[in-house]
Symmetry: C2
Subunit: 314 residues, 2 copies
């Protein structure tokens, strides 16, 4: 997305959606709001707060509408993102006042059927319906619409995913009217050379302005290495999850978003402004830990602490 | 160092030295030899097998001479590296038949006094003595001599280390006759932008051919991200420790070399040939685990496994 004033890289927090959907426990709405408040207080600019999927599929996110309304009321400037699996979800997201709708579409059709219970063709129809819904809205009221290509770097069910398939899906999503396309390493398969190669290929096909975000996992420890590769090819938005909470419950073994604390530490160390302060970010981590006692939280910086003399990006 | 035939990046295993010196237990010589045999069988080309320091300081490495002799006898083609704190250690290393001598010199003089009990001036004298020793040897018998600048990216005792100091030390070491200079992130303080900047500065000062290696730690989770940055600026040798065993016992909190298994996985995924096969590398990990029951071993790839359809570099 377009970067806000004063930041070089947008760290998009997905813990309240990707993190919480991957654990069995349901975090009470009040605790979610307190955690999101703390994240916003740390300077996080964009937060994916939930997903408009049927409650029977993801009871952890059944309160997404309520969360969107409450957070927009409390933090008007915060960019509130939600996942929408279809036009029905998009209607609910629009009604709740979300700033960004993300429709996931898996490059692996096997994974798509398991994850979203839809073929590519069925998802294209949903995308078209959502674009119609959005075009009926007045300019100021129209949320951003992203098509997120999951398993873009490989799939635990299909293995290698050809670049050409990802590029074709990106072109199709833009042709259908998505504002943006994102690439997700759902399975933690990506490597830095592949990130450079695939991002460049997608940029060549749809233009760099249409693909600015990566959703990376740290399943095999390459998450931040892939961020470095993404930065080199012009990526300016990275999803991450506080404490590394989360992953994809439908892709076996594919746990672990990159850790927000480590990502912000790396970017700020590199002189890239995220707008996020690490001290209050650690306070937000405490809210998360207190709300989910015993839930494993990850991250190296939280354990090792900041380097002596550390300075955030000026 | 000069790369061997058929590999693009040299992964220099330092576990038997850096790893073992950081734990209290002493691994029996026979177990060390079995582990090193397994590493060599996996295709590891260079292994730092010990350090010629007084046994009272590091009893874990008291058998270094014996290990060097045994390994050279068993694996003539293996590049056997050792740490030498002074000329006395270098004499012993030469007598044992080591292929590479590395003398550590800390950019932070505070750290240098704690770690090596020497000022920079005293260490320069040792370097000069070692160069004399080496120049007396016939060409074929002369081991490679590297000056390794530790805490080059920051120090837990002094904080920020100015690039200019590292560059000046590199120039001094080359002027004294070191074949090569290496940079070590002893404290796990490095970030990718700093790696690019400092490596370029040292290359500008002494020439890229004199500085090809980085010794990185993963203390704050940036180890492999820093490898990606190093690759971009022409680094071709990376130290790592199997299972992430190790660190610097004299730099509080600075534990954790980058993990050999994850490093090799990343490099091979990127199409960079290391000459190391991952399956037998995991066998070597088992030798290590069996020799040190209960010792924590790290690594993401060992937990998550290889991606479906993974192919090593051709």
């Amino acid at each position: 997305m377009r970067l806000m004033e004063g930041i070089d890289v947008l760290v998009s927090e997905v813990g309240p959606r990707d993190g919480l959907q991957s654990i069995d426990r349901v975090m009470p709405t009040a605790a979610k709001l307190a955690w999101i408040d703390a994240l916003a207080a740390a300077g996080v600019r964009e937060i994916e707060v939930g997903s408009f999927v049927p409650a029977r599929l993801l009871p952890q996110l059944a309160d997404t509408g309520e969360v969107v309304r409450a957070i927009k009321a409390r933090h008007p400037a915060l960019h509130v993102a939600v996942l929408v699996p279809n036009a029905k979800g998009a209607e609910a997201a629009i009604a709740a006042g979300a700033d960004k709708l993300t429709l996931p579409l898996s490059a692996s059709e096997t994974h798509s059927l398991k994850n979203l219970r839809r073929t590519h063709a069925q998802l294209f129809e949903e995308v078209a319906r959502i674009v119609d819904l959005l075009s009926a809205l007045p300019d100021g009221k129209r949320p951003q619409f992203e098509g997120a290509i999951s398993t873009a770097f490989g799939c635990t069910l299909e293995g290698e995913v050809p670049d050409a398939r990802v590029v074709a899906l990106a072109e199709k999503l833009v042709a259908l009217g998505c504002d943006e396309v994102g690439l997700s390493d759902t399975s933690g398969y990506a490597n830095p050379a592949q990130v450079r190669r695939l991002v460049r290929a997608v940029h060549d096909a749809i233009g760099p302005g249409r693909m600015t975000g990566l959703h990376l996992h740290n399943t095999r420890g390459l998450g931040l290495a892939n961020v470095v590769a993404g930065l080199e090819v012009g990526i300016t938005t990275f999803d991450s999850s506080q404490g590394g909470l989360g992953g994809c419950p439908f892709a076996p073994g594919a746990s672990g978003n990159i850790v927000t604390e480590d990502l912000v530490f790396m970017l700020e160390s590199m002189g890239l402004r995220t707008g996020i302060d690490l001290a209050p970010l650690m306070v937000a981590r405490r809210f998360l830990a207190d709300a989910l006692p015993g839930e494993p939280l990850y991250g190296f910086m939280p354990d090792a602490g900041l380097p002596l003399g550390f300075r955030a990006a000026a």
